[in-house]
Symmetry: C2
Subunit: 129 residues, 2 copies
DNA sequence: TCCTAATTTAGACTTATTCTAAGCACATCT
DNA sequence: AGATGTGCTTAGAATAAGTCTAAATTAGGA
């Protein structure tokens, strides 16, 4: 974290640590709830400050998916997303599961710098029910 | 609109009409501002009620893209999206510009019902500057 | 025309997030 | 060690997007 010019405080460490261990794209609220069950506690403002700082430093990604809450993801590998329409869970899909796309022909000279695929459907767990 | 069981009020007509003519994925706020410059006016609650009714009826799509505000789109053809990182504009990309994707191999038996591609980069207008 | 359920409305409310101002904490200089 | 400064944390106030409520209005069928 220091490499990107951020002081490493216990709160920041706890937030990033939680995100790295989590595969569930937690919201700020989930992160807050999880942290405040143990040490160190962090105020709401700190959670948001930290998440914004981490995002600006490129250490986490902020994603919006089908609703108005930000979700955070410490997976920096290139990947796609899968959203289950039953349980609403958001899951990473490794880039290799799909492979490189043919460069799309965009009429008016837009430059595509990167892309991601958002897949929707029913996840394995929900299908079993 | 009647076909989907909705009474056709002037407010509803105005909202849908505005969306159909618009290619810019307006937010509720933009729609509200546009409508309230002319007849019929619509309260904030009506704008939201109408947008939700139209979305539930499948006449418009609600999309969230990189921030916490809903944008609406009356383009019902299958399409992808392009987001300009300079002007933040959100644009539809016709499905044919990319073509069908190879079915991704999703480890755990998820069922992909559909997908969209979100491309990011710089749009033609912003490139010219 | 009349009726009724559906719709509209203003304004209160909720929820997610940001801002503010005050206090801490730690690194640095002396 | 003591003084200083910058950056971090905090509680709580403020904002923004969207929802809810209850009363008044209206679309569309009988």
């Amino acid at each position: 974290m220091r490499e990107v010019g951020l002081k490493l405080t216990p709160q920041r460490f706890a937030v990033l640590d939680f995100l790295v261990r989590s595969r569930e794209h937690p919201t700020a609220d989930k992160i807050s709830a999880a942290l405040n069950r143990r040490f160190p506690r962090a105020s709401r403002a700190t959670i948001y400050n930290t998440l914004n700082a981490l995002r600006d430093a490129g250490l986490v990604h902020e994603v919006y998916m089908d609703d108005a809450v930000a979700r955070f993801d410490a997976n920096l590998d290139r990947h796609h997303h899968f959203v289950c329409r039953v349980c609403d869970r958001l899951e990473d899909v490794p880039f290799e599961a799909v492979g490189e796309l043919p460069a799309p022909r965009l009429g008016a000279g837009h430059k595509v710098e990167n892309y991601e695929i958002v897949m929707r459907g029913v996840c394995a767990a929900c299908r079993r029910k």
